[in-house]
Each structure stands twice: as structure tokens, then as C-alpha cells.
Symmetry: C2
Subunit: 591 residues, 2 copies
């Protein structure tokens, strides 16, 4: 037997017990006649004591030979510590060691196994099995496990059934790029890995499963940005005979349950905001509501004053920085303007209006606008003495996006975001379609199976191009602290409407049939009204922990080149494998 | 709102309530002045009643227009049925319909949506979304969901952490064929889909996760036999600082928990049998213990009587059919012998010895053996008057396998297997290595990470070829009713021993390093003693339900060509996709 207790278990009540423990040597302190060793496992750390008095010379020498991360088993007696440590559960006791077995030795790890480690990112990824020994990293993975348990608990108790959908499916050119898998038994043919189980969960609704969920791996072969992974995990859900309202309530319930169970945080009811309002007031479909600072528009008050930049702008829009926070030096204002002009944001300039404590008004565009006009602007923002307006202008969409970046930067810089604060929000009534100027075609804003709002159906079936641009869908996102953690929609369950949607998205009837014939066919056999949602599980883990990196919540993540540094994958395969699969590698000229 | 209740909810206490229901039209009975329609959903069936008296003509006509599998929503009043049906939960009531909405129409399904359907296998696979509407199929998928819940419940309450391991990993030629995934970002390189998370779960032990589990999809590109799927699901588990004994107890506990929770079956403690004994007594490493009929060997009693077939045989071994069941006609004995001689089994002949009620003995080899000798055989088997011995001879392994097939066939044919009986068994002490005569090399009996038994380690490090053949491992299988539902082992956690094992398996040091360097490397940084097990989840579902087909427990299974008939995958992909992935299709000449 390797242990009677784990390394986090022993308490003052255990004093006098003979125990066996196993674990890793965290560190040792050698005082000559006495030596203390911290023994670590997943559950905690227990202090071991070797003393010249109580231990044989052989045992003492063996203890001295222990290096960091050696794996040992000890037998000994639990004794009370003279100097207690109230920061650890086992801090009242130590174990006087009588027998020591070295179960395995360890080379010196390439970085320290501590919360604050000296290992760089690449090194820690290569030795991920050691990085995962650090308790800060281990805690994240354990948190993820607990979040999954709490998710399943809620959904199962609400009659959802977890159904596994296939991983080897069919490639569909719509959406992101598929990862594909050559089929040996079907020469020249390929499976694809699912970007989501979307069509399968809809088929499960057609099958009458009524309420489905799955915590499931999904795959997208995209160029990886900092916080994307080629494989990621979704909480995927679908319900039949439901309205949007019922879906929002069900998954607001799930979210509250998760916060309560894993963080002991009670969330109040989630506010709802229309997509159009979110864009108009926060310039974003995922506004961070941990601080206010809404947009106000000034077209009517700012045009016609011979300031050409504003006169020629489609939109003039600004935010109001309140009180203390508004005391920007000119130097800081300049810096902020430079930040806004970087190509990542691309603003042309940044107009400011300061409402001084003495009632005077000062503005970077003061020569075009008199004080009365500037004060009228201030009124629109509800600006008080001491506040400052920051104003952008230009094309509507671009300008809103730039101002949204500015708002978020100020929220961070000015300390307006309280740690541990959670502000969930439902954004609803997304547009159905998005017009892409470049390719001159519509894209699905959510995905091609999303239903227009009921009252929009006649418009969708008969409308002109402009009508199509403005169609609203029964589509919704759950946003927390400015991160989209879930999104879904009521789906189309009618073959005619689904065919119309494919047509609008530029599919020929033949293409629609070849790719989604099975779904269109299923709609002819009594498809119920249905809808659902999918949560990004990795992102949810991160947001609950106030972290911005999903990688911290994935046991074995890949780097930005889609590479697993630890196992060194992907890698070449043998000529025999290629031949069996009836494929050949054709390197491009650049390679 | 689509419903106030589901179709399985209403009871006599609900009489008088105004309700809204939605579901599928199962069938209608039209009596002219009255019409009954069964409304179905996942939860049950509720009878609707339309009557000339209570309904408007328009409503009655609309009700008459309903076809099978139409999706409808009704509003009405719950009334007591005059003729109750005690076979269904809602059998005491019916709903008098006041309002009827047709939510979706349905074409006539290609087969009936009943437990006993008229649809053939291929048709049901093509329309799997309709097949899944049949309550017998739906029950299987719901059972699977419940089994997963019970599994997670037990493991989580025993401190196991569920960790997701990656799906895009590295190809390793050892074992079965990998499915591979070309990497677009790493030209000419491929990911592989995991055949199991074996190395990752071992790394998680090196990381100190202590107790890991995962219900996880695994992939093998094998030629598919009737009951294999290219993607299948495992309950994958690993523990640190454990002995084999602790693992067996933990997972015996899991198995008992699953039977209790999902079937309300209490299993007694599982017997254990050594691999060598299982092979000697039942000719199989997964004996079905629902009936007895052990093997007895006769070499000492049957050789040297001038019966050349026995004299030249490596092994003479038989079974004893008891009492009534042994009353085979000569015709049936002949048929059984023919069955044994089929190429699938390949026996040369079948010797019988009958112990008649009058004390006489009759045998197909009576001319070589006198009655005293035959009676001595009978004694060895514990044969009584009325019993019959069936005896095979030949090469040891082959003969045992043939006799095992005969034993199972007799168990089925003679009705020795009681429905609802469960006989679990641990088979332990598997050999470490298996010598393959053809390729003249060792294969790992379990897998290359399995540890020899502690006392075998010196033999393994220094033994000769014969010693290697006989090395025993800390490897075990859980068998229920003759199906292997789980298997595992204590793993090697020492780099030297692991390298030695790779060497025995024919890896050069370079090959071992290229494929498993990350694991060998990890062993140098304090790997703890560890071991684990994996259960075939699909098989477990089937065995618990007394079914022989795992396909019945998979929502969207593939056929024997690895094809999903419903979505028609795999399929060709576009030239652009191939080019992006830097691969080309090279059809073989046969194609």
C-alpha cells in the first residue's frame, strides 16, 4: 500500500497516528541535526521531519539524498508542530519519518514547480506535464472538471439527455475551414471533423429527443489568433417546442447555477439588450457592462458649423468620462489619441471637450463651436462640471468600433472594472443576414439554420435586397463582462424557408441538396419547432475566473501554429500510411 | 407557448384542467362522429378526442386531415376516459380538443414508427432520424445517457477528475491503424486521432492529477467486423499510488454502482481467475460464467490406446453435457459435428461418450477404449448417468478455442443461459508479451506501457527468449457474460524498464524516442507508480441490456464500410481543399 492518507488530509486530531504517505518532494530545509521536507500531492502539502535524534543515520542520509520532485513513500508518526502554519490545512502537524522509500528519482525540472515559476511559455508547453504540476495550473483544470459536473447536474435535472454525436462526419464548405480525415475504406473520400454538432442536434429534435445536450469537442481549421484553439469544447444544447423566451430562461438558469455552484456567486436576473441598441450605445455586440460610459450621438448638434471633418462624417459619436477620471493631462490625451491612431484601431483623430470645475468649457475644436453649442453637447451626455467628452467621427460601423475600443481601454486604464464583478447580458434580435461588400453576397450572421423572427417571414420570402439586409432573427448571445460565452437561435423547421435561406446565402438548389439534403429531407417528416444554444466551454472557464486566456483551462493546448509542443504533433507519416489512404503529399513551392 | 404539459404527464387528478400539448400524431381512429388521436412525444402518449358534438365542423375536418407524424399543438380539457388503459401512465384520461394548430406536416414515413417496425436495416440507417423516433431505439439512447451520468457520479464522488485530452495528436504505427488529419498550417504533416488517451492519461499521472477519468471518443481505422465502429467511446481511468488490488476494488465498485443505479441489480463480489486458468478451463480469456461446463483434459487417460488422432494430439480436452440436455439424437450430434467442422471453427472431428441411464457407456471411439477407461474419463468430468462428454483434440491453443466455441454454442442452444443473469469476472495475470510466429516478433498482449509483475522484473531485464514468453503482467480484464467490457494494467513508470519493453517489442531506440520520447522523458521527472483501466462504453450499454449489438446504443452509427448512410459520409472534397492541405488523391489501380 502506498498511502493511508493523502498529503492534504492530516489534522491535529490525527496526532499520534502511524501513517503512510506518498508524493513529490516539493523542497527540503536542512538544519544539520534536523531536516524538514515538504511532501506534495494534488490534495496538499504535508511537512515531514527527519531528526538525528529520532532517525537512524541511514535514514537521515537517504533523506539528504532527496532532490526536488523525487517521488517517495514514507511511514511515520503524526506529531504536533511547534510553529504552526495557519495558511495550510495540514499546518498544525508534521510527520516524524521512520521509513523512507524512494519510488522514483527526478532530474532537476527545467523550471520551478511553484505558482510563480521561472519557466517561459515555450518551455512550459514543451514540458506541459511538469507545468501541470504547479498548483495554480492544476486548480484551473480541476475547476474545469467541476464546471462540467455542475453543467451536467443542471441539465440532467431539467430533463436534458446527453447524446454523443459523431466526430467523423461530412465536409461542408460553409463557414470556417474543416479538418478532414481521408477514408481508407472509401478511396478518394474524406470525413470532416465537426465544427459543431449543429445538424445532428437538429436531427435529434426531429427524432423527438425534446431536450438534448452534449459537452463536446469541436474543430475549426482557422488561422489561430492568440486565444483560439483548433479543437475546443462546447456545451451544446437544443430544445423542441420552445420559444426564445423559454430558451433564455433555461440557460440563464444554467449560468446562475454554474456561478453559484463553482464560485458561490449569486447573479441577479440578466438584462436584455437589442443588437441594434448594443451597437448604437456601446459600439459592440458584446458590451462590457462592468462600467457605464454609453455612447451619445451628436450629428444634429455638431453638423453645420463649418468643421469639415464633422460635416462630412456619417456619424459623430462620443463618450463622457466622469469626474476624477476625466483629469487627463494634455500629454495623456495626446498619448490616448496616438493609441487610437494605431493601425489596429485606425481612428483619424480624437476630439475632446472639457467641462471645467469653474463652469468654463474647453475643447480641441473650440474654434468651430461656441460655448453654448458645446454645453448643449454636454447636456446630451449628462456631463457635469469636471467631466470630459471624447468624440470620434466617420463611417458609422467603423467609428462605433473605434469608440468601443476607446471605451474598453478607458475602463481598464481608469480602473472602472471591479475585480470579481460579473455583468451578464443577453443581446437579442440579431440580424439574420450580413451583406459582404467584397464578395457581394450575404453571409449568415449566426448560421444558415437560424430562423427569422416570425413577423419577418413574409419579408424574407418576398422582400427586396434592402429588406433582406434588415431582417431580424430570433438569435441571441449571452455576454459576460464583454466576452461572448454563448450564442444560439430559434431554428428554421420548414423546408421551404430553409431552402429560401440557402438561396439567399448563395447556394444553388443542387449545392444545398448535396450538402444538407439529409436535413432538408428530415424537415419533410414532421420537424418540430426547435431552438438552442451553444456555450464556449473553454471561454466560460476563463471568464468565471476573470482570466483572458482559454489556454490556461486546457490540459494540453496547442500553440499558435496549431502545434502540440510536448508530443511534437503534427508530424510526417510513413509512405505506407499515405499509400493505404490513397493520398500523396504535394508540397507547395514556398515549402 | 407550445405546451403546459408533456404527453406523458397527465393523470386522473388533472381532470378538468385546460391544457396545451404539442407532439407527433402516432395514429388516429375515426368512428365517424368521434375521432381519437394518439399524440406522442419522448415522455409518452396522450389520447386526444375530437367529437362532432363538442368540436366545430372546421376543427373536426382539420383533425381528419392529420396524417401520421404530423406535428400539432392542441388546447383542450382533460376528461376521464370511459375505457381506461392501465398499460400507459396517461391511460386514465383523454383530452377533449378545442383548438388545433398544425405546426408541421409530414410525408408518410418510409417505415412505421413502432417498436416492431417494417423497415429494413439499410432503410432505417438512411432515415436514422425517423428510426430514432421509435421508442425502443430512443430508450437505448436515453439508457446510455443515464449510464454516463451514473458513471460520472461514482467517479466524481471518489475524487476522480475528468480531464479532456486532445483529439488531434500524433500518429504512432504501433497497434491498430490511425485515422490521420492533414495539417494545413504544417505542410506535409499530419495529426492522428487517438486510439485511446493512453499516453496522455499517464502524463496526467506524472503531473500529479492522482485520479483521472474521461468518457471519451476513440478512433481505430480497422476493417470493420459486424460489431465494431470506427469511432467508439471509452470510460478511461487512471490512478496513482495504487496497487492492482485497489484498482480492481475501485472499478468493481463502479460496475456494481452502474448495475444498481441503472438496472436496480445488486451484484455480489466478482470472482477472479488467472488468465492461465481461464484458458485451461474455458478456452477463453473472457469466459461466460452464466453456465458451468468447464473443460477437463484427458492426455494421461486417452493416449497410448492406439487411437492415432489422440496419440498425436498435443491436447485432448472435453466438456461434459449434463442430464436432460445430453439427450442428443445421432442426427443432432452429426449436425453439431458439422457445425464444428465449418472453416470458421475448423475442428477435425468431435468425439462423444454417452453415460447411459442403465450404467452402460457408448462412445464414437468405443473401439479404441474399453468401458473401464471411458468410465475413468467420466470420473474426471464428474459425469453421472445420463451425461455426455464431447471431446476435441489437436494443437493446444486451437483446440481450446474450438472447444470454447462449442461450449458457448451449447450454452445458447440448450437454454443454459438465464435472461437477466449477470456473471462478472476479473481475469488477471495476463502474459506481458505475445509471440507472433509469422512476423517472428513479440506483440504487447495489453499495450506497450503495461508493467510486468514486480517479481518478473529481473526476468524481464535479463531473461532469455523462453522466459520472455512466460512473463506475467499486472494486467486484468473485466468480463461480464463472456464479453470483455474493460481492461487495464499497472503501468511501467521507470524509463529503463519502459525502454526495455520497447526493445522487446522490436523498436529501435531511435524509433522509441521519435514516437514516445515525450513519455520516456516524462518518466525522468518523478513519475509516480500508476495504473488504470478503460471500459468500452458502447459494449457496456449493450451488455447491461443483454444485447449483442453496440450499434443499437449509438445515436448515429456507421455501417460496415465505415459509412454514415444518413449524411452520406465520407465524401469527396473540393480541389481547393486538397490544395490548401497540400495533398492529392492517388487512386489505386483497382479503383
Amino acid at each position: 500500500m502506498y498511502r493511508t492518507h493523502n498529503c492534504g488530509a492530516l489534522r491535529i486530531a490525527d496526532v499520534g497516528k502511524e501513517v503512510t504517505l506518498s508524493g513529490w518532494v516539493q523542497k527540503s530545509r536542512d538544519k544539520g541535526f534536523m531536516m524538514w521536507t515538504d511532501l506534495r500531492d494534488r490534495y496538499g502539502i504535508t511537512q515531514l521531519i527527519f531528526s538525528e535524534e529520532a532517525s537512524s543515520k541511514a535514514l537521515f542520509d537517504k533523506a539528504r539524498s532527496l532532490g526536488r520532485e523525487y517521488v517517495i513513500k514514507i511511514q511515520g508518526t503524526v506529531i504536533e508542530r511547534s510553529s504552526k502554519n495557519d495558511k495550510m490545512g495540514t499546518g498544525d502537524i508534521e510527520v516524524e519519518v521512520k521509513k523512507l522509500d524512494i519510488l522514483n528519482v527526478s532530474k532537476l525540472p527545467p523550471f520551478t514547480i511553484e505558482d510563480e515559476t521561472d519557466g517561459g511559455d515555450d518551455l512550459r508547453m514543451k514540458y506541459r506535464f511538469l507545468d501541470l504540476r504547479r498548483s495554480s495550473v492544476q486548480r484551473n483544470i480541476i475547476f474545469r472538471s467541476q464546471l462540467a459536473i455542475a453543467t451536467r447536474q443542471y441539465l440532467a435535472s431539467n430533463d436534458f439527455i446527453e447524446v454523443e454525436t459523431p466526430v467523423l462526419i461530412k465536409s461542408t464548405p460553409e463557414g470556417a475551414r474543416d479538418f478532414v480525415v481521408p477514408s481508407r475504406m472509401n478511396e478518394g473520400q474524406f470525413y470532416a471533423l465537426p465544427q459543431s454538432p449543429q445538424t445532428f442536434k437538429q436531427l435529434l429534435m426531429v427524432s423527438g429527443f425534446d431536450k438534448y445536450f452534449q459537452i463536446v469537442k469541436c474543430f475549426r481549421d482557422e488561422d489561430l489568433r492568440a486565444d483560439r484553439q483548433p479543437e475546443f469544447t462546447q456545451i451544446d444544447c437544443e430544445m423542441s417546442f420552445v420559444t426564445q423566451e423559454q430558451i433564455l430562461n433555461t440557460f440563464e438558469g444554467l449560468t446562475k447555477h454554474l456561478f453559484k455552484k463553482t464560485m458561490n456567486v449569486e447573479l441577479s436576473d440578466f438584462p436584455r439588450m437589442q443588437y441594434d441598441d448594443a451597437m448604437r450605445i456601446y459600439g459592440s455586440d458584446k458590451p462590457d457592462l462592468r462600467f457605464d460610459m454609453p455612447f451619445s450621438e451628436l450629428n444634429d448638434l455638431a453638423k453645420g458649423h463649418d468643421f469639415a471633418i464633422f460635416d462630412n462624417a456619417e456619424l459623430i459619436v462620443g463618450i463622457c468620462v466622469k469626474g476624477e477620471a476625466a483629469n487627463f493631462s494634455n500629454k495623456n490625451l495626446k498619448k490616448l489619441e496616438e493609441w487610437m491612431k494605431r493601425p489596429q484601431i485606425g481612428a483619424k483623430g480624437l476630439v475632446n471637450v472639457k467641462f471645467n470645475a469653474d463652469g468654463s468649457v474647453k475643447s480641441s475644436v473650440g474654434k468651430f463651436y461656441d460655448e453654448a453649442t458645446l454645453k448643449a453637447w454636454g447636456e446630451r451626455f449628462g456631463a457635469e462640471a469636471g467631466d470630459m467628452l471624447l468624440i470620434l467621427s466617420g463611417e458609422t460601423d467603423k467609428t462605433r468600433k473605434q469608440l468601443s475600443e476607446l471605451r474598453l481601454e478607458l475602463g481598464r486604464k481608469l480602473g472602472l472594472i471591479k475585480a470579481g464583478d460579473f455583468k451578464p447580458l443577453w443581446v437579442v434580435d440579431f440580424p439574420l443576414l450580413e451583406w459582404d461588400e467584397e464578395s457581394e453576397r450575404f453571409h449568415a450572421m449566426h448560421h444558415p439554420f437560424t430562423s427569422p423572427k416570425k413577423e419577418e417571414i413574409p419579408n424574407m420570402l418576398n422582400g427586396d435586397h434592402e429588406t433582406m439586409k434588415n431582417l431580424k432573427a430570433d438569435a441571441y448571445d449571452l455576454v459576460i463582462n464583454g466576452s461572448e460565452i454563448g450564442g444560439g437561435s430559434i431554428r428554421i423547421h420548414d423546408r421551404t424557408l430553409q431552402s429560401k435561406n440557402f438561396e439567399l446565402l448563395g447556394f444553388t438548389p443542387e449545392e444545398a441538396e448535396a450538402q444538407f439534403g439529409f436535413l432538408l429531407g428530415a424537415f419533410e417528416y414532421g420537424a418540430p419547432p426547435h431552438g438552442g444554444i451553444a456555450f464556449g466551454f473553454d471561454r466560460l472557464c476563463a471568464v468565471l475566473n476573470g482570466s483572458s486566456s482559454i489556454r490556461d483551462y486546457i490540459a494540453f493546448p496547442k500553440n499558435n501554429q496549431g502545434r502540440d509542443m510536448m508530443i511534437d504533433a503534427p508530424s510526417p507519416i510513413s509512405a505506407e500510411q499515405l499509400e493505404e489512404l490513397s493520398i500523396d503529399v504535394v508540397l507547395s513551392e514556398k515549402a
